[in-house]
């Protein structure tokens, strides 16, 4: 397929899911049909995205542009793909596919609006990745966020409406504020540079400080969306308050699209201006540190994991703050690795949370004996997150450290190594608190075991998730959490049964296997990331593709 054919097909990444979403809305409450059609749509797009990766691999970089509607360049909205776009499209679509599977397996998708909302969400993500127009990026961010608000509330537990509302209020107000700020930044850019087309804006911020200031407003807004310290506080409050499936889905898409936009804007509009890089190095090092310390005091798996997400976002963005070819390569590799691993962790602990009714550290124990598969999946993802070989996290961290040494940012290297250690300790906390054997005899080994839940606190209770399909036994376990000392009467069998079936475990296992593959086949993915980084480091081909007639 030639480059121009691919260009013509690029708008389909936006058009196809939107069209399918509209059709599915009309079919009403047919969940099986919805699941099949959504999966087929997503897999088609995934194949398309991977083909574009293959195309750029064979041509060794470059960029493909398309003026939507064949309007002349400068008037049309340009859709442009290069290796970075294609890699991001592939991984976000892969995560969406796996998340849809997980949502169906965990009963979070029992609504006729679930599939259409996910499709529109995917529309927004694809559009935000492909567009080369900053105002159009704002529109696609909103297209991505609006269905997210719906998903946030929709797949929430119906028995706890008030808690979900609190989370949703925070989430909606934060995002509306950020979007308004971003829009104001785009307004300033238009006022100072006279365009919102990335191709026209290219390198302008380097030469004109008013444009740089206007661009800084948009980057600041994107930093809030990506939850960079000191504007990170919303993430750990908002994400854990919905169902595990939706947390996993959002973790892979929302903050990552903002990171992608930061990379793109800084690389093209600022042309990697070295004057401002120190701000990034300081802020992103702080993000690593504060994120990982935030996780120390948390008592549920999902709040710990979201704080780690903040910490990891510091690592990812450090790539753009170094702005060397090696640094960008490492940053892009880290971004791809992180999306997979984080979703794997959310899905592994989410599967436990869905079946056992709680994600509170210390409330469960010995799950590794009843659920060995999910425990191994969690362990692989956790070690990968901490950066232990042979998983992808090791390659990502190693490359980033080499890049930082090369750029002379020794303080950042020290922070990275220190944070890795704390990350490992934090993952061990989840492991011992949830999966490992708890004292002599876990809660599910004998009937009438006394559980002393000293780790209870009101906030932890808030985020505990009670699925509607919870069995009486599970509900009895949850009830014990309200008292200080209660006797579990439920489990009559001495050998506990497996509760996480194949369908629920599959997503976490799949993603864990991918992180192993990324680790062992790191060379191949690094070469792809290298091509993507070249496209950012020298953005002329991208700019040409944006401005081509």
């Amino acid at each position: 397929m030639s480059a121009s054919t691919i260009g013509i097909l690029l708008p389909l990444f936006v058009g196809l899911p939107l069209l399918v979403a509209g059709i599915l809305i009309c079919t009403g409450h047919r969940l099986r049909l919805h699941a099949v059609v959504t999966m087929l749509t997503m897999l088609t797009m995934l194949a398309g995205a991977m083909y574009i990766v293959y195309h750029f691999w064979t041509t060794d970089g470059g960029a493909i542009g398309h003026q939507v509607g064949h309007w002349p360049a400068g008037i049309a909205i340009p859709f442009v793909a290069d290796m970075f776009t294609a890699l991001m499209l592939s991984v976000t679509l892969l995560l969406t596919v796996v998340s849809i599977w997980f949502a169906h397996a965990s009963q979070a998708a029992n609504s006729k609006y679930f599939a259409p909302l996910v499709l529109v969400l995917s529309t927004g993500v694809n559009g935000a990745l492909l567009t080369a127009d900053l105002f159009n990026l704002f529109v696609f961010l909103e297209v991505m966020l609006l269905p997210s608000y719906g998903l946030y509330v929709l797949s929430a537990n119906r028995k706890l409406p008030v808690r979900r509302t609190h989370g949703a209020r925070l989430y909606v107000t934060l995002n509306l504020f950020t979007s308004t700020l971003y829009m104001a930044g785009v307004g300033f850019l238009y006022g100072t540079a006279g365009s919102v087309n990335i191709g026209v804006l290219a390198e302008q911020a380097k030469h004109d400080s008013t444009v740089a200031l206007a661009g800084a407003v948009t980057i600041f807004a994107l930093c809030i969306k990506a939850s960079v310290v000191p504007v990170h506080g919303w993430l750990a409050r908002a994400y854990p308050a919905t169902s595990p499936a939706v947390t996993a889905l959002f973790s892979g898409l929302h903050t990552k699209v903002a990171i992608y936009a930061i990379y793109r804007i800084y690389a093209v509009v600022y042309d990697g201006d070295t004057r401002f890089l120190w701000i990034g190095v300081v802020l992103f090092s702080l993000t690593m540190l504060i994120g990982v310390f935030g996780a120390v005091g948390e008592k549920t798996t999902r709040t710990i994991l979201t704080f780690h997400m903040v910490s990891q976002i510091g690592y990812i963005l450090l790539g753009v703050a170094l702005f060397t070819e090696l640094g960008l390569t490492a940053g892009i590799f880290y971004l791809l690795h992180h999306m997979i691993v984080k979703a794997a962790l959310f899905m592994a602990t989410g599967a436990v949370e869905v079946r056992y009714g709680t994600g509170v550290i210390g409330a469960l124990g010995g799950i590794s004996r009843t659920e060995p598969v999910i425990a191994v999946a969690f362990m692989i993802a956790a070690l990968s997150l901490a950066g232990i070989p042979p998983f992808s996290g090791f390659v990502a961290k190693f490359m980033l450290i080499v890049g930082a040494v090369e750029a002379g940012e020794i303080a950042a290297v020290v922070v990275m190594l220190f944070v890795s250690l704390i990350t490992l300790l934090s993952m061990l906390k989840i492991w011992t608190g949830m999966f490992w054997e708890k004292g002599s005899g876990g809660p599910a080994t004998k009937s009438g075991t006394i559980i002393t839940s000293q780790t209870r606190d009101p906030y932890a209770q808030e985020v505990s998730y009670t699925p509607e399909l919870a069995t009486e036994a599970t509900r009895a376990q949850v009830t014990t959490l309200t008292g200080t000392q209660t006797i579990v009467e439920a489990d009559e069998a001495t050998v506990p049964a497996r509760r996480i079936n194949f369908a629920l475990a599959a997503p976490a296992v799949t993603l864990s296997l991918i992180t192993v593959a990324f680790g062992l086949g790191g060379q191949f993915l690094l070469s792809l990331s290298g091509i993507a980084a070249e496209g950012l480091y020298d953005a002329t081909e991208y700019v040409q593709a944006v401005l081509q007639p």
Binding site: Y149, R169, V172, A184, Y190, P458, T479
Partner: protein, 129 residues
């Protein structure tokens, strides 16, 4: 200048309303902030050197720039839909958003008994407390 002062005034009003705990006031704050951002976009079109598009001149450089107006139109539609959604959230939850304090009142066991019926606070809110 008038535009700049108006934007400042709207933003100040929005910040004042954001400091309130009630969700409805926060929403009103967002309405003001949205207007402020729209006016920034409007000003970006060069209102100081351009005038209305009709009757005054045939010179395109002196006519109002249509692009920022299209931006504003898009932004208004988006902000409007989110405002409606936030209004729904403001009546389905409780009056304030003290996430940490409110939790103590919630009881998992009590809620699981009252299957199907709306939460207590939802009803009291619905009666226009």
């Amino acid at each position: 200048m008038t535009l700049a002062l108006t934007i400042g005034l709207l933003t100040a009003g929005a910040v004042y309303l954001f400091t309130k705990r009630e969700m409805l006031r926060v929403i009103l704050g967002f309405v003001l902030l949205g207007h402020a951002a729209n006016l920034i976009l409007f000003a970006a079109g060069g209102t100081d050197r351009r005038s209305e598009a009709f009757y005054t001149s045939t010179d395109p450089t002196a006519m109002a720039d249509p692009l920022p107006q299209a931006f504003i139109l898009t932004a208004i539609v988006i902000a409007f839909s989110i405002t409606i959604f936030m209004l729904v959230l403001s009546v389905t939850g409780e009056d304030s958003d003290e996430t940490a304090e409110k939790v103590e009142k919630l009881d998992v066991a009590a809620e699981s008994e009252s299957d199907g019926t709306p939460h207590k606070s939802f009803r009291t809110n619905g009666e226009g407390k």
